[in-house]
């Protein structure tokens, strides 16, 4: 019988696995990717090619991955898709498709390390092939050794744009524009936080060096506000605009490109936690995250969470949280182990850095002025802005849930993972209201964690 079940094998999940195993608890580590490492340390196949130049610190990742593989107390299920998770009478039931069959895992002790994905905002033409998320461009580079296109525009907001631009350059591509929407200089006010997190500054300079050697200059206060297709239906150019403090368009210019990588930070993937019934809350960046206490325990006793799902903060914070979650879960199953003061101090230091990041890259409401009536809002169900407005102004929807039911916005295959977060803002804006936390939390909950073929269920346990 497995004592601690850990979901997700990125920085948080790997750290949690090692900490729990070191404390004496057997671990079952379940991950959807074919290889360990998560998004941050996304690995290409072993015999493909060395990907060191696509990473700032691949060695730390390899160290953790090899340590997990070496510990026989840790059983690893890679390429496993969890499609359902329920909590009843203190018992958690996970339904998993693994090696073509359904497996059912019952456990009282779970650590959720399900990570995050790119936060997107809609704009005219964002559904054209060639418009991607920065994470998508990076995963192609790190995991598959493929550059998505020759001429790449990297835009949006947040520090993640830097490694993506640097990665494109290192792979031989050309970054034709690097645009940061924020003009914030709030970094300088957090001097102490910078000083105590010097390794993060080193990481930023590692990327900036590559970018400046390629003679690319980041432009601040600018954004991609529209994309245009050639006659073959694929991306040909984007409109880039100087924007004001509130993201309202000032001056527009057109630029040719093959790929536009546009992202606005990250959205935590709380689907599993929400399905189990863990309490969630709205973070400073308006994203929904899982509530945890100082031991990384969620509102459900025995269910712990670590990494991006408890608040976007990067790999170092994820690792610090993962260690604490691993120790706490091991203690919960009866191991004689305690979280050390040093662990808490390390987490606090990295949390201060994460907080400074969120303050430095605010997403301002003016992005809504970039949209046109015919702009696609829900990519899956092809719902456009005018459909959403119609559901409110003509059909009388007074909240985002009703607007969703009337338009099918967010009811497609991705289950609102892409549009759910900003639809709440669009609906509230049309109603002249501020979104409530309940609006935001209800937009991220979904009954099926990942769609699966029904036939597989017939083969299961």
């Amino acid at each position: 019988m497995h004592n601690v079940v850990i979901i997700g094998a990125g920085p948080a999940g790997l750290s949690a696995s090692l900490a729990a195993a070191a404390a004496g608890a057997p671990v079952l580590l379940i991950d959807s990717n074919p290889r360990l490492g998560g998004q941050y340390w996304r690995m290409s196949a072993d015999d493909f090619q060395d990907q060191h130049n696509q990473h700032f610190d691949l060695d730390t990742g390899l160290l953790l991955i090899n340590a997990v593989k070496a510990r026989k107390e840790i059983e690893v299920w890679s390429g496993a898709q969890i499609w359902s998770a329920t909590n009843k009478d203190g018992k958690n039931t996970l339904r998993i498709i693994y090696q073509g069959k359904e497996r059912i895992v019952n456990t009282e002790n779970l650590i959720l390390c399900t990570g995050a994905y790119d936060r997107t905002l809609p704009f005219p033409g964002w559904d054209i092939p060639g418009v991607m998320t920065p994470g998508g461009v990076q995963s192609l580079l790190k995991g598959h050794g493929v550059l998505a296109g020759r001429r790449v525009v990297v835009a949006g907001s947040g520090p993640f744009l830097l490694p993506v631009a640097a990665g494109v350059i290192k792979a031989g591509g050309s970054v034709v524009a690097l645009l940061e929407a924020s003009k914030s200089r709030r970094w300088l006010t957090s001097f102490f936080v910078l000083l105590e997190n010097i390794s993060k500054i080193k990481e930023a300079f590692y990327y900036i060096k590559t970018i400046s050697e390629a003679k690319v200059r980041a432009r601040f206060g600018q954004a991609v506000i529209a994309a245009h297709a050639a006659s073959n239906g694929e991306l040909e150019s984007v409109d880039i605009a100087k924007i004001d403090r509130n993201f309202r368009i000032k001056k527009v210019q057109n630029i040719k490109c093959d790929v536009a990588a546009i992202g606005w930070g990250f959205t935590a993937d709380t689907s599993l936690a929400g399905s189990l019934g863990c309490n969630q809350l709205v973070a400073k960046d308006d994203g929904v995250v899982v509530w945890v206490d100082g031991e990384q325990q969620t509102s459900i006793p025995g269910v712990f969470a670590a990494g991006e799902i408890t608040g976007i903060g990067g790999s170092d914070l994820s690792m610090a949280e993962g260690v604490i979650a691993g120790i706490s879960a091991a203690k919960f199953v009866g191991c004689n182990v305690e979280v050390l003061k040093a662990h808490r101090k390390r987490r606090a230091k990295r949390q201060r850095f994460a907080n400074a990041l969120i303050r430095a890259y605010p997403i301002k409401p003016g992005w809504k002025s970039w949209l046109k009536d015919e702009t696609i809002i829900c990519r899956c169900e092809e719902v456009c802005l005018s459909d959403l407005k119609h559901s409110i102004n003509e059909l009388g929807a007074t909240d985002s849930r009703t607007a969703k039911l009337l338009t099918r916005c967010g009811m497609g295959l991705c289950q609102g993972r892409i549009c759910g977060r900003f639809v709440v803002d669009l609906v509230a804006n049309e109603l002249n209201l501020s979104p409530t936390d309940t609006d935001r939390i209800s937009a991220v909950n979904r009954p099926i964690i990942t769609p699966i073929p029904l036939g597989v269920l017939a083969l299961g346990e």
Binding site: F48, P129, H144, G233, L235
Partner: protein, 88 residues
Amino acid sequence: MSQFDIEFTFDDNTITASPGQSVGAALLAANLRSLGQTRFNKNKRGVFCGIGVCFDCLVVVDGIANQRACIVEAKSGMKVQTQVGSNA
């Protein structure tokens, strides 16, 4: 180097891939950016999120529709097709 020892077809094209590469990555490497067409407007779509979240890069693999090109690993002899709508 064991690069490009996998061969599969995408509609009428023969595509090469390295072991471990996804179908979507191999298609992008071959400069094929449009993978399918949407159900209602028949607009072209390609790889968007790249990590299996958005379900935009749907293709038909060996006759089975709704496969995410970004996460399906390329295998020799695979028959991959453009998915038009829900392929119903």
